[in-house]
């Protein structure tokens, strides 16, 4: 059985997906953040819309920024969000 993964969404990614978080079991061939984005995009229109332009999407794994080619093995929580605009 694939391990459970908490996914969190923020700002317009959250609005487009339509939820702030969920727990999913991605298939074993989903190895990187980019794989995860592709797999999510295939799950429905709301995801396809949210991840429309993957190059602008930022990701964090267990609350640390990661690149899209990062391996997700061992992650408990992965978050997707647009570029940050705090400060």
């Amino acid at each position: 059985m694939a391990p459970e993964l908490k996914l969190s969404y923020f700002a317009w990614v959250r609005e487009r997906v339509g939820k702030s978080d969920e727990t999913l079991n991605p298939p074993a061939d989903v190895r990187t953040i980019a794989d995860l984005i592709a797999w999510l995009s295939s799950r429905g229109e709301e995801y396809a819309y949210a991840f429309d332009n993957p190059t602008v999407i930022r990701a964090a794994m267990d609350r640390k920024h990661v690149k899209q080619d990062s391996a997700i093995e061992g992650a408990r929580e992965i978050a997707f969000f647009p570029p940050m605009t705090g400060g």
Binding site: F10, R63, A79, M84, G86, G87
Partner: protein, 161 residues
């Protein structure tokens, strides 16, 4: 000279909805100390963009926001000789004229205080997980504020230094 120990020289990080009191934070940092020669305080405020906005809504990633600003703070402590500091970032609905973010850095000398404070702000802008959504004065649904290239360039400067 009052020696508050190693922790007295660390940068305190807080994420909160409530407003902050910059003067109280500065007073706490310098109280009883005779080694602080320079304090740089940055306050970021909500602008109304020429009466366009009634508020900004700041969304954040709880937990990661603290962690990420603490990482930026640790990097600043590492790069410069500092005698303490504070970084406070607010979230939630914030009206024009209200405070959004505070960075205070205390050091013996001004160059370190200025550099560390500006570094903290540049990094915080591009790395701290906060997003601003506009509330429009005309009642319409506002946009999410777009990240500025200028902020990325400001943060990149510190890599070359």
């Amino acid at each position: 000279m009052v020696d508050g120990g190693a922790d007295a020289n660390r940068i305190k990080v807080q994420i909160q909805h409530e407003d902050f009191d910059a003067a109280a934070e500065v007073a706490a940092l310098t109280k009883g100390r005779l080694d602080v020669g320079a304090v740089v305080t940055f306050t970021g405020l909500c602008r109304d963009e020429g009466a366009k906005l009634t508020a900004l809504e700041l969304e954040h990633y709880p937990g990661m926001a603290e962690d990420e600003i603490a990482r930026v703070a640790a990097e600043a402590e590492n790069r410069w000789s500092l005698l303490g500091g504070v970084a406070i970032h607010r979230y939630g609905k914030i009206a024009p004229g209200e405070n959004i973010v505070l960075v205070v850095i205390a050091s013996s000398h001004r160059a370190a205080a200025f550099a560390a404070a500006e570094f903290m702000m540049d990094y915080l802008k591009t790395r701290a997980p906060f997003w601003k959504k506009e509330h429009l004065a005309d009642g319409g649904a506002g946009d999410w504020v777009e990240a500025r290239d200028a902020d990325d360039h400001a943060a990149d400067r510190w890599r070359k230094a």
